[in-house]
């Protein structure tokens, strides 16, 4: 409690000196560090309290040497899993805008596995601002969520491995819900481009009742491998969102996400 009070005082104190007010959006800080040449200080935030396997929106705050928030910067990510004998990357989305929004540069990383004895995750953030470029590599921890939010399959048509991440609905309700998934191909261990040319069929199902729901909209591609549609829930409880993914030559794979509310 005292710590919290002091922290509040400290932050407020900082605010009075800074022309940019501290953003009001509350994210959870995942990692922070000085860049290698001490040009910037980077803080990485998550919408959730921890990073989990699947799609994680990340919000980066950058400070210059004077401790002032950087409002315009090019940010790029490089997530890496070090498994001693091998290393691999994972799909990610660099912040789309070079302009800060509410104090943050927002992108995302899709972690394909949790941290553990098998290996450790790190996130390299490189910042280009005020004519300088510098990078920082931050160790991060990724947990396996209670409900899986990432599925992968090997395409029946061309043998490519695909990763499908669940984005929406995060707060499911009885009624019409926005559905969003993101799909990535694994070209190499280090290259996971967005899969933008698939078609999908959505079939929600209540496994314990054996029924579905009417008037769902199949997700269609919007941008960067994101597919948006509508899913309808007629009641609370455990639902399976069955997805069939097709590429130009036919059915590539099938998978389902659990939604329990």
């Amino acid at each position: 409690m005292w710590a919290l009070c002091l922290a509040t005082l400290f932050i407020t104190g900082c605010d009075s000196n800074s022309p940019t007010p501290e953003p009001t959006t509350t994210y959870n800080k995942i990692a922070e560090g000085q860049t290698e040449s001490n040009v910037f200080k980077v803080k990485v935030y998550s919408t959730e309290s921890e990073l989990t396997t699947g799609y994680n929106p990340l919000h980066v705050a950058v400070y210059d040497a004077a401790g002032k928030r950087v409002e315009e910067a090019g940010i790029s990510f490089m997530p890496l899993m070090d498994m001693m004998t091998m290393k691999h990357a994972t799909p990610f989305e660099n912040p789309a805008s070079e302009k800060v929004a509410e104090g943050y540069f927002s992108g995302a990383v899709v972690f394909t596995m949790p941290s553990g004895e098998m290996g450790a995750w790190s996130l390299t953030v490189s910042v280009t601002a005020n004519g300088q470029t510098d990078t920082v590599t931050l160790p991060i921890t990724v947990q396996e969520p209670a409900t899986s939010r990432l599925k992968s399959f090997v395409s029946a048509t061309d043998g490519t491995r695909y990763y499908v991440a669940y984005l929406q609905p995060q707060q499911p309700k009885i009624g019409v819900n926005d559905l969003e998934v993101a799909v990535y191909k694994m070209n190499t261990m280090m290259d996971f481009p967005a899969a933008t040319d698939l078609t999908m069929e959505l079939d929600p199902e209540m496994p314990s009742m054996g029924h579905g729901s009417p008037n769902n909209q199949n997700p269609t591609h919007t941008s960067n491998g994101h597919y948006k549609g509508k899913v309808n829930f007629t009641m609370t409880g455990l639902w399976y969102l069955n997805l069939t993914l097709n590429d130009a030559s036919g059915q590539a794979g099938q998978l389902y996400f659990e939604v329990n509310f």
Partner: protein, 676 residues
């Protein structure tokens, strides 16, 4: 007891009412109203019509429920899902097309499976009379195309001396091992009166005609009613009514669920002025409110894949004002304004071991605001002709009241869920004495009805009748009906014959239609049906009754009815009662003892609806024997009633009974009543 009550009818208001009643009796009585009078209070001409034969049944079996009493009116049938909570309907119409009111008050059931029609809240002990209006006469009660059923509540009395009276009754029935007990206490003074009554019924699983007990047919209930009457002025009376009804463990063998508990509270305040010398000889204003809480569950059923709770809540408040005037000689005008607002909500929660409960709103929270203006004008032309014009303009607005409810319905693409229905009704009735004893009445009417909350907003309501989940449709149009009716009646002191034929074309007839693109929610359901306006339906039928007094001590009463209904394609409509006859012969053995033999015959119904997977029903014939004995001492009246119903233990079911469940077999009943 009756004699005693009559003696106390000295209050000024009543003398006037009775005189008014007899004054009207000279005019031609209406044929489109059937009444059961249960308590001899204010006698009006209307009620004299048919009460003789209907009272007989009541006299014979005081353990009878309101449903059993109503079933003696030829126009009335019941849809039966269990031995409790049978749903009344009139002629070939569906219950949704019929207006059921308690003393003019609207009560919306809180059960999505219609286990709680308003008739269950009124015990015969609290009932003064029951009125069934067919054709246009029903427009005074509401916008309904199938007629109206109104239950008039018993009232406290006034007396010139403070008087305490009451009755105590107890009975037993063997088929269901059912016990009944009731108590009534009335206190009357010159300026105020109180009437309090309580009834308790407990019924076990009944035995069907084949000797087997029908599981889940039990019920237990208690009903309390309180009426207070206060004479505010010479001709001005204030009345307060309160009814509390509680039911427990009520089984519905034809449904997959039972009712664990149901609670009803019905309250009203009425101001009544009756004075024949005034221009408006009767004025009544009433405020009312009621609340029904209903808890349906399947906790007593074995081996179910999913456990289910389905609670429902209904709240209604409303008012009506009614005035009757005699604008000129041989004319009568009744005006009525009524309004009510009802809130309905019902949900379902399903439980499965180790899983998140599955919850949904089966009636997304909704509100119905209803208001109507009605007028009835009667003109007597000479002694032979009477013309009656009934009309009503009714507005009802339905809406979903919560975002949660709207979200749910958006699953079906229903974005606009609010609907206003403006329904005009008009009917013209012409009566003429053709001969001295033969009268003909012809009537024609145009009317309509708004859809029900289930038909508009129902969310996967499973119907055990046809095995489909039903989904509402907020885009439904009102049903419109065009009806014609002809009644011939022959009346002489010893014989009264009456025959009625009717026909109706109902446009926009609302039926569930199979939606192959939707998947059923209920495990085992055959699919999903969505309510739609079908092009039209055609309904027709006839009733006839005869009352014959062979001599002063012997009386024969017989009624017969037939209903016919088909949709626009000529296919039979479901739930159509077949040809049915009830005949009773009663003989008085002296002044205290009477015996009555009765037969009930129903023809087979093979005009069953394929769309509703309806099964044909076999014909049956039942014999009943009833007897009554009455002994009056100086201060008490003792009555003993008993009899045997379904003497030959016939295994049968009526066509309107759901789920091939047999009705009770041989039933011996005995009832002792003491009045003071």
């Amino acid at each position: 007891m009756i004699k005693h009550i009559k003696k106390y009818l000295i209050a000024a208001a009543y003398t006037l009412a009775v005189q008014l009643g007899y004054a009207q009796q000279n005019a031609i009585p209406s044929d489109t109203v059937r009444t059961i009078v249960l308590q001899e209070v204010a006698v009006s001409a209307k009620q004299q019509n048919h009460r003789l034969h209907l009272q007989q049944f009541y006299g014979a079996n005081q353990a009878a429920t309101t449903e059993e009493l109503l079933s003696r009116i030829p126009e009335v049938s019941f849809i039966r899902r269990g031995s409790y909570g049978m749903e009344p309907t009139i002629r070939a119409y569906s219950p949704n097309q019929v207006s059921v009111t308690v003393d003019g008050m609207r009560i919306q059931g809180a059960c999505t499976d219609k286990m709680d029609p308003a008739t269950i809240y009124i015990e015969p002990l609290n009932l003064q009379s029951m009125e069934v209006h067919t054709a246009g006469g029903s427009v005074m009660q509401g916008a309904a195309i199938g007629g109206s059923l109104n239950m008039k509540l018993a009232e406290a009395e006034l007396a010139d001396m403070p008087t305490l009276s009451g009755s105590l009754s107890s009975g037993y029935q063997t088929a269901a091992r059912a016990v009944l007990g009731n108590l009534r206490l009335s206190y009357a003074t010159p300026t105020w009166g109180l009437r309090a009554s309580g009834t308790y019924r407990k019924s076990q699983n009944y035995r069907a005609g084949n000797g087997e007990r029908v599981l889940y047919s039990q019920y237990e209930k208690a009903n309390y009613a309180l009426n207070g009457k206060f004479l505010l002025h010479d001709d001005l009376v204030l009345q307060a009514d309160f009814i509390a009804d509680a039911g427990w463990d009520m089984g519905f063998p034809a449904l997959p669920m039972d009712v664990g508990e149901a609670q009803a509270r019905i309250a009203s305040l009425t101001l009544l002025r009756e004075n024949a010398e005034r221009r408006w000889n009767r004025l009544e204003a009433r405020l009312y409110a009621n609340r029904i809480a209903h808890y349906m569950d399947d906790s007593t059923r074995p081996d179910l894949p999913v456990r289910m709770d389905m609670p429902g809540l209904s709240r209604t408040s409303g008012m009506y004002m009614e005035g009757t005037a005699a604008p000129a000689a041989h004319q009568s005008l009744t005006l009525r304004a009524d309004a009510s607002v009802s809130h309905l909500q019902a949900s379902m929660t399903m439980y499965q071991e180790g899983q998140t409960p599955m919850y949904m709103l089966t009636w997304p929270d909704n509100r119905q605001v209803q208001a109507g203006l009605a007028a009835q004008y009667t003109l007597q032309v000479g002694r032979k002709i009477q013309v009656q014009l009934n009309s009503r303009l009714n507005a009802s607005d339905f809406s979903i009241t919560t975002g949660e409810g709207r979200d749910q319905l958006s699953v079906f693409g229903y974005t606009d869920t609010e609907q206003l229905f403006l329904i005009p009704s008009v009917s013209l009735q012409l009566s003429r004495m053709l001969l001295q004893k033969l009268k003909a009445t012809v009537s024609g009417s145009l009317n309509g009805r708004a859809p029900t909350a289930s038909e508009l907003y129902g969310f996967y309501l499973f119907s055990q009748f046809d095995g489909y989940d039903y989904i509402g449709n907020p885009n439904l149009k009102a049903e419109k009906s065009m009806q014609g009716e002809l009644t011939l009646s022959w009346q002489e002191p010893r014989l009264r014959l009456q025959a009625t034929a009717y026909t109706a074309k109902v446009d926009n007839y609302i039926l569930g239609s199979y939606a192959p693109n939707l998947s059923a929610m209920t495990i085992g359901a055959r699919g999903v049906k969505v309510y739609q306006n079908t092009a039209h339906a055609f309904l027709a039928g006839a009733e006839a009754s005869a009352v014959y007094n062979l001599n002063g001590y012997t009386q024969l009463v017989s009624t017969i009815k037939y209903s016919y209904g088909c949709d626009a394609a000529g296919e039979p409509l479901p739930m159509m009662p077949p040809l049915r006859n009830v005949t009773s012969l009663r003989k008085y053995l002296g002044d205290y003892l009477w015996l009555q033999a009765e037969t009930e015959v129903a023809a087979a119904q093979h005009r069953n609806s394929e769309d509703f997977a309806e099964q044909p029903t076999n014909a049956f014939m039942l014999w009943h024997l009833r007897a009554g004995y009455k002994k009056e001492t100086e201060k008490k009246v003792w009555q003993l009633n008993g009899g045997v119903e379904n003497i030959f233990d016939v295994n049968y079911r009526e066509h309107l009974d759901w789920g091939k469940i047999s009705r009770p077999g041989r039933n011996l009943f005995l009832q002792l009543t003491m009045g003071f």
